[in-house]
């Protein structure tokens, strides 16, 4: 073999590689423009959602649960957001909705802003799993539908709100 020759790849292989590069590249770019990640970390998360390997961060979820049970609702939501950044886990979103309910609940009046956020989270749970049922015995409301109804009732202004006996009701 002379010095100015090299062993080269067969031409068809080069065409296959080239076509594969283009197909994979365009798919990846279309995915980025469709999913709109804001950071490199989000690219990974959204990628795992797209290929179906997304799962929540268990440690963060447990931390959120501990904070939820100690009535630190703001802290619990921060942990839940870290556990489920894509908001695709029904259980996590259920606790997020519940935390808004409990934080916004008032004996005389409810916090409408928090209840509205809770309602959005409850809707997310229904969208992810309409039949979701919590196994947490410490919760009075176990399904997203119950929670949603309670939040909707809390946002409505009715004559029933003037009932003095309502002051005796308890937070669920």
């Amino acid at each position: 073999m002379s010095s100015n020759t090299i062993i080269a790849m067969k031409k068809p292989y080069l065409h296959i590689i080239s076509t594969a590069i283009v197909a994979i590249g365009l798919t990846f770019i279309a995915f980025l423009y469709w999913s709109q990640p804001k950071t490199l970390a989000e690219v990974t998360t959204k990628g795992s959602v797209a290929i179906g390997t997304y799962s929540i961060e268990k440690a963060e979820f447990e931390r959120g649960l501990t904070l939820f049970r100690s009535e630190d609702y703001i802290g619990s939501r921060v942990a839940f957001d870290r556990a489920d950044p894509e908001k695709r886990d029904a259980a996590t979103q259920f606790y997020v909705a519940y935390s808004y309910y409990r934080q916004g609940w008032g004996r005389v009046s409810n916090d409408d802003a928090l209840f509205t956020e809770g309602l959005k989270a409850a809707d997310r749970v229904i969208a992810i799993d309409a039949n979701y049922r919590s196994t947490d015995a410490a919760l009075t409301m176990r399904t997203a539908s119950e929670l949603k109804k309670e939040l909707e009732e809390g946002l409505k202004l009715t004559v029933d709100d003037l009932n003095p006996f309502k002051l005796t009701r308890e937070r669920k």
Partner: protein, 228 residues
């Protein structure tokens, strides 16, 4: 065969060819798609002013029209000879591969327009009109490859300067409330409001400069003809 080299061995999946030809194949089938894909990726990328978060802007329809016009220019000027890139004399695999490169060239061209055109407001229409004017004139002119490349480089350079140097410097900072911004930067705040200019981080300009240079480099490396 040139330079005194020749195919000296053909054996199963391995052939021996001259290095120049192998390099040309590598550039055409590996480097070119990578260059155009990189431009496609970066062309719509902006960085948020406050947190430098990625913002991927989908190209407006107008960019696709401009890119189609530019592709026609490429074929008319001879920068690309379509009958050589896609022909029944080649295998299906080779045609698919060549077609894929042309697709990446088209998407990169779309994204270059997406990069260089202002996103919204009056500047979008003014720069858009300038592009229409230039491309429309070019479509009916007699071009050779060198003239076309110079014309495109000049058009893109002017658009880049207009968007990332002139208009970007008319955008006021977003810190403080509306009144505070008016008092501190009355001129910039007025232009931002009047021209509906978006606020992006400075990194955007650098990335788009890189994308534009890469695109022109890709065009330079694109062979007009694919030899048999």
């Amino acid at each position: 065969m040139s330079h005194g080299t020749e195919i000296i061995e053909v054996e199963n999946d391995i052939i021996v060819v001259e290095p120049e030809r192998q390099n040309a194949l590598g550039v055409r089938y590996i480097i070119l798609p990578l260059i155009f894909l990189t431009v496609t990726l970066l062309g719509g990328l902006r960085f948020g002013e406050k947190d430098s978060a990625f913002i991927f802007l989908v190209p407006p329809l107008l960019c696709l029209v401009f890119a189609a016009a530019v592709m026609v220019l490429f074929f008319r000027s001879g920068l690309l000879r379509l009958e050589s890139w896609l022909t029944e004399r080649k295998s299906t695999l080779e045609n698919v591969s060549n077609g894929a490169i042309l697709v990446t060239l088209f998407t990169a061209t779309v994204q270059i327009f997406n990069s260089l055109m202002p996103e919204q407001g009056l500047p979008f229409w003014v720069i858009g009109f300038c592009f229409v004017w230039t491309l429309w004139n070019n479509l009916f002119s007699d071009f050779d490859v060198a003239k076309l490349l110079k014309s495109l480089a000049a058009m893109f350079a002017l658009a880049f300067v207009a968007k990332y140097l002139v208009l970007a410097n008319l955008v006021g900072p977003s810190e403080g409330n509306w009144l505070q911004r008016i008092i501190e930067n009355p001129g910039k705040e007025t232009f931002t409001w009047l021209l509906d200019l978006p606020r992006y981080a400075a990194a955007t300009g650098y990335v788009q400069f890189f994308a534009a240079v890469l695109y022109l480099g890709g065009l330079y490396l694109t062979p007009p003809e694919i030899d048999e």
